[in-house]
């Protein structure tokens, strides 16, 4: 809900676990990146932020979504489905972050048109590396659609 850093692309982190939120923030800080990261603590809030509904009308158009699968209530898969069925949101790349490496979760994510599936690394260095890699790929390597 709050911008976490300045500049460049707008990233929405959908994550309910405060530990993982902190790890992601630390990862971003460590990697000295300048993108803005917003936080949605659950799937419903994420959808309202993405659609910029009241009271989230101050939210930007997001360029990238980091989506945790294991959310309370409206799950990560529900968010993925809702986004891909929404004409205005289906172009936004979704990176699925999961503590699971269960084959069925991987398959279901790609079947739901997730742009990639990343297993959360087991230690801090690994986490920093992954956050860095995601950031680097989506900001410097990949070309993102421009907002119509």
């Amino acid at each position: 809900m709050t911008p976490l850093s300045l500049d460049s692309i707008e990233i929405l982190l959908v994550e309910d676990n405060p530990g993982d939120v902190r790890l992601t923030q630390e990862g971003f800080a460590h990697a000295k990146l300048h993108n803005r990261m917003w936080l949605a603590p659950d799937g419903e809030t994420a959808m309202r932020m993405l659609r910029r509904e009241d009271p989230f009308d101050a939210c930007p158009r997001f360029d990238l979504v980091l989506l945790d699968l294991n959310l309370p209530g409206f799950s990560g898969f529900d968010v993925l489905r809702a986004m891909k069925h929404d004409e205005s949101l289906c172009l936004v790349p979704v990176v699925v972050l999961s503590s699971s490496n269960a084959e069925r979760d991987v398959r279901a994510s790609y079947a739901g048109h997730a742009n990639c599936f990343v297993t959360k690394p087991a230690n801090f260095e690994g986490f920093v590396d992954v956050v860095h890699a995601i950031e680097h790929f989506w900001t410097n390597v990949a070309r993102l659609p421009t907002h119509g």
Binding site: N17, A122, N123
Partner: protein, 424 residues
């Protein structure tokens, strides 16, 4: 005997009733070919016969029928004959012959006591009938004839009864044995089902718990690392040592949980078996182990070609990774690790041996080695959590093969497993 009624018994009795009636009707008409049919007489004879037969049948159909009902059978018989006599004005009735069927019916359907009762009643009624009601002039021969008829029929029904009893006892025995077998089978199936369910539950439990445990362990490890990075300078050596224990513990727990998860996945995997090239599988396993092989300087000898087997390539790769990895891990520090992989064909199966020159083990531990969490070495001496070989055993088991280990302390060990070969 007849008290041991089964559903089949009852069905038989119910089904043979109409048949008995038809036969009785035909037989009853025989002596009347030259006399006009008396409808009342026929009706009384049929009803009386039906009453006797019904009583005898009822006591068999319902094992819990009141005792007086069973005792009533001979009395009903006497009453039926008397009724017929009275209705026909004491004349010898053609339809009375119908009632001779009753003893046989009772013999077939009733108890031994009822047969005896009916037989005695028949004698008595014949005597009464011939002495009191028949023409006095013919009484002598009538009594003899009547008694003879009653005697023959009585003996015949007793004979029928005993053979029916014997037959029924044998049938009951056979049926009981079959029932017992069916019950035993059912129990076996039931316990099998329970076992399967409990296995599935256990696997599911292992999967869910290990999966959910990963999350908090990741937190502990990541944040203790972050803490160490950020605040290591602000705590003293003692504090850093304590923090080290936290990180190490979390790391060990993580590897344990990851292996447990993998162990449970071997059982829950529903990937169908395919024709897998054991050569390709070994190739991939050695690729995975390449850093370890290089670091240890191990020499790996492998056959030029390995056969096709029926199985899950992913799991078979894991099997090789664990076995070859173990062979390198438990190497003797005083000599260069060498390991040989050999394969031979035995009938329909392929046997693979992984032979090393490592520290070996005492053969008496050969079985224990495949059990979960069983370790032959202290922590610190050799890393490991005792799940690797349990996973191997489970993979081989799932493939319908056998796995075994032999070792000689300080000389080396051989791990062998069999898999189902694909027919060439």
């Amino acid at each position: 005997m007849s008290n041991a009624t089964t559903p089949e018994d009852r069905r038989d009795a119910a089904q043979s009733l109409p048949f008995a009636f038809a036969v009785a009707l035909g037989l009853g008409l025989l002596p009347l070919q030259d006399t006009p049919v008396d409808a009342l007489e026929l009706a009384i004879a049929l009803v009386a016969l039906a009453a006797v037969m019904a009583l005898a049948t009822l006591t068999t159909l319902r094992p819990n029928a009141p005792r007086w009902l069973a005792l009533l059978v001979p009395y009903a018989y006497v009453a039926a004959i008397t009724l017929l006599r009275m209705a026909t004005g004491g004349n010898r009735s053609g339809y009375a012959a119908l009632l001779y069927l009753a003893p046989f019916w009772v013999a077939l359907r009733g108890t031994r006591r009822q047969v005896l009762g009916v037989t005695i009643a028949m004698f008595a009624s014949q005597v009464v009938q011939t002495t009191l009601m028949d023409d006095v002039a013919n009484a002598g021969s009538s009594i003899r004839g009547a008694l003879l008829t009653a005697l023959v029929i009585g003996m015949m029904s007793l004979a029928v009864q005993s053979s029916v009893s014997a037959l029924r006892a044998a049938e009951t025995r056979v049926r009981r044995e079959a029932d017992a077998r069916a019950q035993a089978n059912e129990r076996l199936e039931h316990s099998n089902e329970l076992l399967e369910r409990s296995n599935r539950d256990l696997e599911q439990f292992a999967y869910v718990s290990s999966h959910d445990l990963q999350e908090p362990l990741r937190m502990i490890r990541s944040f203790s690392q972050l803490f160490a990075q950020r605040y290591a300078q602000q705590v003293d050596d003692d504090g850093r040592e304590l923090l080290g224990f936290v990180t190490d513990g979390a790391e060990r727990a993580q590897s344990l949980v990851a292996d447990l998860l993998e162990y449970s996945r071997v059982g829950t995997s529903d990937r169908p078996f395919e024709d897998a090239s054991l050569g390709d599988v070994l190739e991939r396993a050695l690729d995975v182990l390449a850093p370890m092989i290089e670091e240890s300087g191990a020499r790996v000898y492998r056959p030029d070609s390995l056969p096709l087997v029926h199985g899950d390539p992913g799991q078979l790769e894991r099997l090789f990774v664990n076995l070859v990895g173990n062979a390198i891990k438990y190497r003797d520090p005083h000599r260069k690790p060498e390991l040989r992989i050999e394969s031979s064909r035995i009938g329909q199966s392929v046997r693979v041996d992984v032979i090393d020159n490592g520290i070996g083990f005492d053969d008496e531990h050969a079985r224990r080695i495949f059990l979960m969490f069983q370790r032959l070495h202290a922590h610190g001496e050799y890393d490991g959590n005792g799940i690797g070989l349990a996973i191997c055993a489970r993979i081989v088991e799932r493939h319908g093969g056998r796995i075994e280990a032999h070792g000689v302390p300080n000389e080396g060990s051989v791990f062998s497993f069999t898999l189902e070969a694909v027919a060439a």
